[in-house]
């Protein structure tokens, strides 16, 4: 009998937990919010924050397109969010409810994919540039100040099998188009085919398409040049300091220009807890959240109050916070037909095998 009573009590307890706890689902890439921020938010909303991860913005968009639901707030790249918005899956924002909106630097508001900020609010950004093994490249006499290093055979012959680029159609094509002197968001078929030819020739020398493990390969010396996000390199440099490597790693922006992936906060249309969603947005827009994000993950934050508190060493690193002299570009979404075409080309490129 005792066991039955125990089961009964357990059942009541579980029911209570299930009823009392409001759950807030955040969908984002890994390592993209500071632990302190989560704790502060949870104590304010009296709810539990669940982190759900995706590795590629297109994967996230594909999942939502296929009907995935249950997320309240998503943090993702602009062009992917534009796609999701076109699928009518995002809530229209009431900006009067976002009290900390003024903390955001104005140049990051009103992006081309959402001019009125009707569904998205800037959260953080990461430039895409070349990270490299400085010791090895100095010896080879190569300075990766141009995308030519990963596209021109002159350099690639000396870097055979030591280069990785992202497993992302948008980023690789943007780099190729920048190198060719074209608009990185070009949707013209000729431009894309020209970029494809360039990538096809260069990819014989690349080790692989990699946007998730390249920094480890950079750290252990397997890779010398890698297309990189600023936050990944920031963390890798911190690891490198701890492990006392026999070589030095570094990063550099390219003179042809760099893409900056601006990640935004959006609220999904079918979220049932909109008040909590706005509370979350307000919490992460506070300067202390932005400072923690910057210091813990190396992501660049568009928060003007936070910037004053972040160490000048970080703010003056151009691959984390590009200066006025650096050419930077944001992504705009492809029209559906172009995307299908570009993806077909990308699939063929990726499955191409040269040896």
């Amino acid at each position: 009998m005792r066991i039955w009573r125990f089961c009964y009590l357990l059942l009541i307890f579980l029911c209570k937990v299930a009823i009392a706890e409001t759950v807030f689902n955040l969908y984002t890439t890994s390592n993209y919010i500071a632990d302190d921020t989560i704790k502060r938010f949870e104590s304010r909303c009296n709810c539990k924050l669940f982190l759900n991860y995706f590795s590629d913005p297109q994967e996230m968009a594909a999942k939502l397109a296929a009907g995935a639901s249950g997320y309240d707030v998503i943090i993702g790249t602009g062009y992917a969010l534009e796609d999701i918005n076109s699928m009518n899956k995002l809530a229209k924002l009431d900006l009067t409810k976002v009290h900390n909106l003024d903390n955001i630097e104005s140049k990051f508001m009103h992006q081309s994919f959402d001019p009125a900020n009707s569904f998205s609010i800037p959260y953080a950004y990461t430039p895409v540039f070349l990270a490299y093994n400085k010791t090895v490249l100095d010896k080879l006499g190569i300075i990766p100040d141009s995308w030519a290093v990963i596209f021109d055979e002159k350099y690639l012959k000396r870097l055979q099998g030591k280069v990785t680029v992202f497993d992302s159609q948008r980023n690789v094509f943007a780099a190729a188009l920048l190198y060719l002197g074209k608009d990185p968001n070009s949707v013209s078929k000729e431009d894309l085919l020209e970029a494809r030819k360039l990538i096809e020739r260069a990819s014989r020398y690349w080790a692989r398409y990699d946007s998730t493990t390249y920094y480890r390969a950079l750290l252990n010396g397997e890779i010398w040049v890698a297309m990189s996000y600023s936050n990944d390199l920031y963390n890798t440099l911190a690891d490198a300091k701890k492990t006392k490597l026999p070589y030095q790693l570094a990063g550099m922006l390219q003179k042809e220009g760099n893409m900056v992936e601006l990640d935004n906060l959006v609220i999904t249309k079918n979220s049932q807890i909109k008040d909590i969603d706005y509370l979350f947005i307000d919490t992460v827009l506070e300067p202390q959240s932005a400072i923690a994000l910057n210091n813990e993950t190396g992501s660049s934050v568009p928060n003007k109050l936070a910037l004053k508190e972040i160490s000048p060493e970080i703010v003056n690193t151009s691959w984390i916070y590009p200066g006025v002299n650096n050419k930077i570009y944001g992504f705009t979404a492809y029209p559906p037909k172009v995307r299908i075409m570009a993806n077909e080309v990308w699939t063929e490129l990726k499955m191409e095998c040269h040896y």
């Binding site: 590629d56 297109q58 994967e59 968009a61 594909a62 999942k63 397109a65 296929a66 796609d83 999701i84 076109s86 699928m87 099998g161 990819s203 080790a207 692989r208 398409y209 252990n220 010396g221 397997e222 559906p336 995307r339 299908i340 993806n343 077909e344 990308w346 699939t347 063929e348 990726k350 499955m351 191409e352 095998c353 040269h354 040896y355």
Partner: protein
């Protein structure tokens, strides 16, 4: 008469759960897949509406584009051939490693058998991804295995080799993951062999090797075929392992299918590729089944 009817009903009731399972989880998804293959890709994943209304006239959106693209582009066939090659190689390696091991377990003293079998099963206790990640460490550039291989290559005057992110790494992991599926059916078969038959063949003058090849191997044919099927079929659709430890030159057909659904949002092309793969696997299974039913050993084993 009434009794026979009852027996019929009982049969139906008993077979209902598996039938529902097969209809719900195999038949319906397959029919859906075939249907999607003929549709046009939607703007944001999924498929375009079946019927579009345009100025009063409505048109049906069915297309053979997916099939046309799949059959005209050579890279898809390269992927198929590579997947076949990897799967056959993996199956052979599993057989070569698994057969002696299964024989050893089956022939060992009864008290050790359970323990040995347990050792084969233990890797199943940890997640398959973790085991692949373990191989990533084992094959990494600074690992002992890499050092040994590369120092041997150095002695022979060859360039150092990256073990990780190569086709070799893919096959190694495929063999490692699939080995238990080869060993278990083989063991189940070998364990039941009547030792008297081996003794009889020895009495008739056959040597050890001859009685192995002419008695044990033919008798174990059902086990070999079951094991090969269990290894080959999951292998050909694998996408996780090439993604984790492979490079561009070791992508398999599963990677293409996964990419069509999860990244490029072209469901029709993904469905076409899946259908072609299903048909391929089916025809191979039928062919092997045909061979098996015409091989003498299997007939004998059935008796």
């Amino acid at each position: 008469m009434a009794q026979a009817n009852n027996a019929g009903k009982e049969k139906w009731v008993l077979s209902l759960p598996p039938v529902i399972y097969l209809i719900g989880l195999f038949l319906i998804p397959t029919v859906l897949m075939v249907f999607i293959a003929f549709r046009e890709p939607g703007d944001y994943g999924g498929v375009a509406p079946l019927i579009t209304h345009n100025n009063g006239s409505s048109s049906l959106n069915l297309t053979l584009d997916g099939f046309r693209y799949a059959f005209s582009s050579s890279f898809i066939w390269k992927l198929f051939l590579r997947s076949m090659f990897f799967s056959i190689l993996t199956t052979l390696c599993c057989l070569l490693i698994g057969y002696p091991l299964a024989l050893l377990i089956a022939k060992s003293a009864k008290k050790y058998r359970d323990l040995l079998l347990l050792l084969v099963i233990i890797p199943f206790w940890s997640n398959f991804l973790i085991r692949v990640y373990a191989w990533m460490i084992l094959l990494g550039p600074n690992s002992a295995i890499s050092n040994v291989v590369n120092s041997i290559r150095h002695l022979l005057g060859l360039e150092p080799l990256d073990l990780l992110f190569s086709s070799a790494a893919v096959v190694i992991c495929l063999v490692y993951i699939n080995l238990p599926f080869m060993i278990l059916p083989l063991y189940a078969n070998l364990e039941k062999h009547d030792y008297a038959l081996i003794e009889a063949s020895r009495d008739l003058g056959a040597g050890k090797a001859r009685s192995f090849w002419q008695v044990t191997v033919p008798l174990s044919m059902p086990g070999i075929l079951a094991g090969c099927g269990l290894v080959f079929i999951p292998c050909i659709g694998m996408f996780v392992i090439p993604e984790l430890v492979g490079n561009n030159c070791s992508m398999m057909i599963g990677n293409l299918i996964k990419q069509q659904f999860l990244q490029t949002m072209n469901w029709p092309l993904g469905s076409v590729t899946s259908i072609v793969m299903t048909l391929l696997v089916l025809s191979i299974s039928l062919f092997v089944g045909f061979l098996a039913s015409h091989s003498g050993g299997l007939k004998y084993a059935r008796k």
